[in-house]
Symmetry: C2
Subunit: 121 residues, 2 copies
Amino acid sequence: MRIRNQTTGARLRIVLEPDIALGPGKADLLEGIDSTGSIAAAGRDLGMSYKRAWGLVEEMNADFGQPLVHTTKGGRNFGGAGLTPVGQQVLTLYRRMEERAGEAIQGEMKALRKLRTAIAK
Amino acid sequence: MRIRNQTTGARLRIVLEPDIALGPGKADLLEGIDSTGSIAAAGRDLGMSYKRAWGLVEEMNADFGQPLVHTTKGGRNFGGAGLTPVGQQVLTLYRRMEERAGEAIQGEMKALRKLRTAIAK
């Protein structure tokens, strides 16, 4: 699991429409739900309260007009959650964007680091 | 002046070292200081308190090991502020990164929007 401002590189926040944004927090939450099968566990791993994690899931589901995360009530997977096909697509697209953006700015990243180290060390 | 989550597109947060990050808030502040010649005025335009704006400036100056922002005390420009050459370079590099990243992710951006509109509208 990534920790904000600890992993060096580019972090991307995508603003699709005014007030409709997708950033590292939501992406990490989707990834966590996919790997743990639980909204609560995914949130916990990211240091989010249960309320916060659920709030973000509801926000994403509303923003995309259909669930990115499905939950199962009762049965063997009581309380379980997972990504819908759309949720998977959103996560995949976001990770690809992160990767492409990271590649595109390597030169400037190097220049920025040089600027720092030339002075600071 | 940009307003967070209102301007659509990619917003970039660059983590240079653990806990040393440069994002839209700091970049907008640098730009505002450059155009207004004042930390207080730049902060105000961004809805930041004077304390917050100063805190970010001090953080950036420390992060880069030399001032990105210079301040003048007394004289005709009493209380004035501006970017140092390094500050200008940092702002230019950041804006170029935003541009390059935005270009690099156009395809995914389109796919993400289509995913939304296909469902939501």
